[in-house]
Symmetry: C2
Subunit: 280 residues, 2 copies
């Protein structure tokens, strides 16, 4: 590959390398994804968002009448993922910046079409779909600060366990450098959200993502935290959720869909060095 | 600021944002430095290398006859630093890429003029100056794997303590997520290098940098490790030092100067988004 121009952006400090590839011609190998996401020898990001016209990708062709662009999301380890709540906001911000969408955008993802809107403040709202709160109450242990606390299992549809923590001080003191122990664990592992109620419809949260570690933000985790906090079901009110990387707002509408609103920032346009590219 | 075009590069995965500012007109505030180096909300790097004509910066004006360019090095936390062995290689690679220096370059730094050469393989050699091996033998403890091991104190001129570890397995098992305990500590703290002899004139090393944590590489630390390993003084032979981010070669010449040779890679040219810049 001779040239590759990409964009870096983030949503509540969950950061992405956006790779425009409208024709679907780029071979985005796991090796190139890992190289782009490497924070020391590459650009650095939590994942890659490849931008393809839906009609030009096998995974999205059937959605092309409804959603013109396909978000091909890859984790930093090169694996394929279906959706990312912070990523889709950044994806839409990019489409707005290049002038191909306006206040409303529908985005094809491996998790189906996601509808998004711009707020008056410039944040992006995403319809994240219907959560599934499970009946079982796994017990969470986060050494050394807490142990044997019951959590709430929520599928968004990826698996989460939401654990209430009494105070901000206890939240801050949690050691999330190692994965929390969950009993019983979800079959494919889980993201674990530790949540404090800091006011009416206002949560503070830290998150440990499976296979990654503690992150600055997790979009589906923010939604899962509100689903767990609502308890008895959606009443359509809006919650504020503070994470280390910023603040999002979540509305669990009475039709059952969870709407996630939050910032999306473009940081830079990036021309990869041809000699660097030649290595991958 | 309307526009800022920078370059990202790395030397053995010690990475930098290079900010060309030949006229010395840019106000590189600690806030902007931190923003550029933030790995989630910015570009991400261990530090910033501002490129200024020596005659255009107060710190380097007296060196301008000898060295045309001044490397204004800043740590990721915004503080000013005098020198960086990996950084100067990347700085020179940038000067070569834009065509203003050839095989030889003299670079003005806050630690004086540094002379550099290109090797036949394209690596950059830096004359790092004369080390100072101190007589005292501080004791190092890196929980939980080792304790009460005597180290060697070396100034390069920044302070290092080099600690021998018997095997690669013990090196790999070290927990460097917390600073090693050094007794007595150097007055301003120290970088700590854990070193295994893996062959004749061949070391493997991990490093904990003061105020940073474990890093993929530390140029002065690589030099300090060889000074400690030579023991009785320089004999002019060349050592190979493997760090997590790659490999360097070190020659402690019989005139007393330590020469560090290693790779320097340019990753990308980066146009920062004007709205992003407006925040800093």
């Amino acid at each position: 590959m001779d040239r590759l121009r990409v964009v870096k952006g983030h949503g509540t400090e969950n950061d992405f390398v956006i790779v425009p590839d409208l024709d679907g011609a780029l071979e985005l190998t796991p090796e190139l994804t890992r190289a782009l996401c490497d924070r020391h020898s590459g650009i650095g990001a939590d994942g890659v968002l490849r931008v393809v016209r839906s009609e030009n990708a096998r995974e999205s062709a059937e959605m092309s009448a409804e959603a013109e662009y396909f978000m091909d999301y890859r984790n930093a380890d090169g694996s394929v993922a279906s959706m990312c709540g912070n990523g889709v906001r950044v994806f839409v911000r990019y489409l707005q910046a290049v002038g191909v969408v306006d206040d409303y955008a529908a985005v094809a993802t491996r998790g189906g079409v996601k509808r998004t809107w711009l707020t008056d403040e410039g944040d992006v709202i995403v319809d994240m779909g219907k959560p599934l709160a499970l009946a079982d109450r796994p017990v969470a242990t986060a050494a050394p600060s807490i142990d044997a606390v019951p959590g709430v299992a929520v599928e968004m549809p990826n698996p989460h366990v939401v654990v209430a923590v009494p105070t901000r001080a206890e939240l801050a003191a949690l050691d999330l450098s190692r994965p929390p122990v969950i009993e019983p664990a979800r079959p494919d592992g889980q993201n674990v959200e530790f949540v404090v109620r800091v006011g009416p419809r206002h949560l503070a949260m830290r998150v440990h993502e499976r296979g990654v570690g503690e992150t600055r933000s997790c979009g589906t985790g923010i939604c899962a935290a509100v689903v767990a906090a609502e308890g008895s079901g959606p009443d359509g009110s809006t919650w504020q959720v503070d994470v280390p990387g910023g603040t999002c707002r979540v509305t669990w509408r009475t039709d059952g869909d969870v709407y996630l609103a939050g910032p999306a920032v473009l940081v830079a346009e990036i021309d990869l060095d041809p000699d660097w590219l030649d290595r991958y």
